[in-house]
């Protein structure tokens, strides 16, 4: 490296290693199939695997954004998957009842309905955790289980197919040749970033997650903050639910958002936010989500047999963690470069008395 200082600053940046893995994975794909990175223009919009990755990661990014805030307060939200299913189901149900499924007004009402219910359910989570004081994992587990049931209740166990242009656009529409979904995710990310970093919310969340007791004594109403993050998480999940259902123009109460909570938590953790709470990184989370989606796409693109794909995922996940872990790199580098020899005796004056 020509400039060792800049190089150091780069490699010690906390997002450096996830980026390396992401680039490595894309490179591996390109080696496997040289056309992987190519992006063409088709029907007035961009078409290619990269675009797919962006579009498909949009819902995960959304869910993970909300999850980041929850985790930063030291909590966890297992119910996001079910919330995705519920919001999507409500929106689709409402639209399917409309005489004109293509009416923008109807779709907007449907979105408002879905979002509204999700907010109520998020508030429910928030109350359980912040007011009643139930451990987050178990408080949100309730809605994870029951919410799935609710979603299926709404769709009556069927896959609810709709035929609504405006709604479909949320999932597969395009804006400026790129998928609309990615703009939505980006907008949400900017919004969350603005709300947390332009105001003091981020600091307060980190403080509550870092030391709840100290925060209380500093005059922070940690209950309200905790409540708020669960509501935000639910809102993010709701929008993600719209995207998931719009992507296939149908609401599947059972499958929509299944296991997305695990992926979201994984994205947050890969992004460098600790599950113990405290400091959070929205950029890291987005990167984590992109990484996970790239991994999934890689499995399909390289046609890794479904029987071994989980092994492949396991290897990549552990590789990402290891390469990111300072502890691992330290061991690795130390072995290669043994500690420098003894230093010359320091020259400062010393006073010594006989013992």
């Amino acid at each position: 490296m020509s400039d060792p200082k800049a190089y150091r600053a780069l490699t010690t940046h906390r997002l450096f290693w996830p980026v390396v893995v992401l680039v490595g994975m894309l490179a591996a794909n390109t080696v496997y199939r040289p056309g992987f990175l190519s992006v063409q223009m088709r029907d007035g919009h961009l078409y290619g695997s990269l675009v797919d990755i962006l579009r498909l990661s949009a819902p995960l990014i959304l869910v993970a954004l909300g999850m980041t805030l929850v985790i930063a307060t030291g909590g966890i939200d297992l119910s996001v998957g079910s919330l995705c299913a519920i919001s999507g189901a409500i929106a689709c149900l409402y639209i399917s009842r409309q005489p004109d499924q293509n009416s923008v007004g109807g779709v907007l009402t449907a979105l408002a309905l879905g979002l509204g219910v999700a907010l109520v359910l998020g508030a429910w989570n928030g109350v359980l955790v912040a007011v009643i004081g139930i451990q987050p994992i178990i408080a949100t587990l309730i809605l994870m289980v029951a919410g799935r049931g609710l979603a299926q209740l709404i769709t009556e166990g069927q896959i609810l197919t709709i035929n609504s242009g405006p709604y479909k656009a949320i999932g597969v529409g395009h804006l400026l040749t790129l998928p609309l979904a990615i703009f939505l995710a980006l907008a949400a990310a900017l919004l969350v970033a603005a709300v947390t970093r332009r105001t003091a919310l981020g600091l307060i969340i980190e403080s509550v997650g870092g030391n709840a007791q100290a925060s209380r004594l500093a005059g922070i109403r940690s209950g309200r903050i905790t409540f708020l993050v669960y509501v935000i998480s639910a809102a993010c999940a709701a929008v993600a639910g719209f995207m998931m259902t719009a992507n296939v123009s149908s609401a599947d109460g059972n499958a929509a958002g299944l296991w997305v909570e695990l992926d979201a938590i994984l994205a947050v953790v890969i992004g460098g936010t600790s599950l113990a709470g405290g400091r959070f990184s929205l950029g890291g989370t987005i990167l984590g989500a992109l990484l996970i989606q790239t991994l999934t796409t890689t499995v399909y693109a390289m046609n890794i047999s479904p029987q071994t794909s989980l092994l492949f995922k396991a290897v990549v996940v552990i590789a990402v963690c290891l390469i990111q872990a300072p502890g691992f790199r330290a061991r690795f580098t130390r072995r290669r470069a043994p500690a420098a020899g003894p230093t010359p005796v320091s020259e400062q004056p010393k006073e010594q008395v006989p013992a």
Partner: protein
């Protein structure tokens, strides 16, 4: 005299405080059972209780292992998959014609080995347990489908005997051998936590791992040990599951880790570590089991109402547990 009564008063007021969560859980469990008895005639049959144990023996064993991990403030997401992998490997090896004893040894070694490796990664490289054990979960599940895409039946004589042996009155009320094994595991675990250094170190690390380190406790060794123990318990659970189903199926136990964590937490163990009991975990497993039994006995719920009612019962239970806890604080 005065000192004595003072002392008595102090013990009386202190003893319950530590045990209130567990006692509350026990009482609520009995209430739940009472509801079942009052609603359904066959519920009072003692075999129903035995069945809860028979049907949840493996879950209990796995939950005991998870209790160790959660007590240190960690988490082990791999258990469901390790259970499946153990059953799958056993079934596969038995089909290949290996003797039962050898299969048993191999199967019981895989889980702890994986747990040990995960523990090492968590400790030496300082990576969050969630992500390491998630990778372990992918790995173990991947091994399942890698071994076979479809389920493998077990016809081995030993396995069949273990599976179908009824202890008690074979035509009346009985339990399976698995239940005895599960109880043995619970007893050993409870003893380990209460009376061995390892057990006390587990609590210390859960309380404050930094302090534990400065107090000169073997933090690394203990941490690796708990993941190994969890792996061992998952392996035993896997064997019990293979007794239970007499087969290895690649998709069995999907999502079991959540049930297990839920059982442990319902049993009063705090997810951040440092406080909880194995006995609480037993109660947690029973709560989940009784809720499920209640729903089967009802038999009128469709698929989605089943989920909603499970969630609802869970909510009612946890809310009451919490309110009682606050009251006695």
């Amino acid at each position: 005299m005065t000192t004595l009564s003072l002392l008595a008063a102090r013990t009386r007021s202190r003893l319950p405080r530590r045990h209130v969560p567990v006692l509350a859980t026990l009482v609520l469990l009995l209430v739940l059972y009472g509801v079942g008895v009052s609603q359904y005639r066959a519920f009072s049959n003692i075999q129903v209780v035995f069945n809860v144990f028979i049907d949840n023996g493996f879950l209990l064993v796995v939950a005991v292992g998870m209790t160790f991990v959660i007590l240190t403030g960690g988490i082990d997401l791999s258990v469901g998959s390790v259970v499946a992998m153990t059953a799958m490997v056993s079934a596969f090896l038995l089909r290949e014609g290996l003797p039962a004893a050898l299969v048993l040894i191999i199967a019981l070694l895989i889980g702890p080995t994986l747990g040990f490796l995960m523990g090492c990664v968590i400790h030496f490289f300082d990576i969050q347990p969630f992500i390491v054990t998630l990778a372990g979960m992918f790995f173990a599940r991947g091994m399942c489908t890698f071994i076979s895409g479809s389920s493998i039946p077990i016809t081995d004589g030993f396995w069949t005997r273990m599976s179908q042996q009824r202890i008690g009155n074979p035509s009346g009320n009985f339990v399976s051998i698995s239940v005895l094994i599960a109880f043995a595991v619970v007893a050993v675990a409870a003893y380990t936590l209460a009376y061995t250094r390892l057990g006390r170190n587990v609590y210390a690390i859960g309380g404050n791992s930094q302090s534990a380190l400065l107090m000169g406790l073997p933090v690394g060794r203990t941490r690796i040990a708990v993941y190994t123990i969890s792996g061992l318990c998952a392996a035993i659970g896997g064997i019990l599951l293979s007794f239970y189903t007499l087969s290895g199926a690649p998709l069995i136990g999907v999502g079991m880790e959540l049930d297990v964590i839920a059982a442990v937490v319902i049993g009063g163990t705090v997810l951040t570590g440092g406080s909880g009991y194995v006995f609480g975990t037993v109660l947690g497993v029973l709560v989940l089991g009784v809720i499920q039994t209640l729903i089967t006995f009802d038999g009128s719920l469709n698929s989605w109402w089943t989920k909603i009612v499970i969630g609802g019962l869970l909510f009612a239970f946890i809310l009451l547990q919490r309110l009682i806890g606050i009251r006695y604080k």
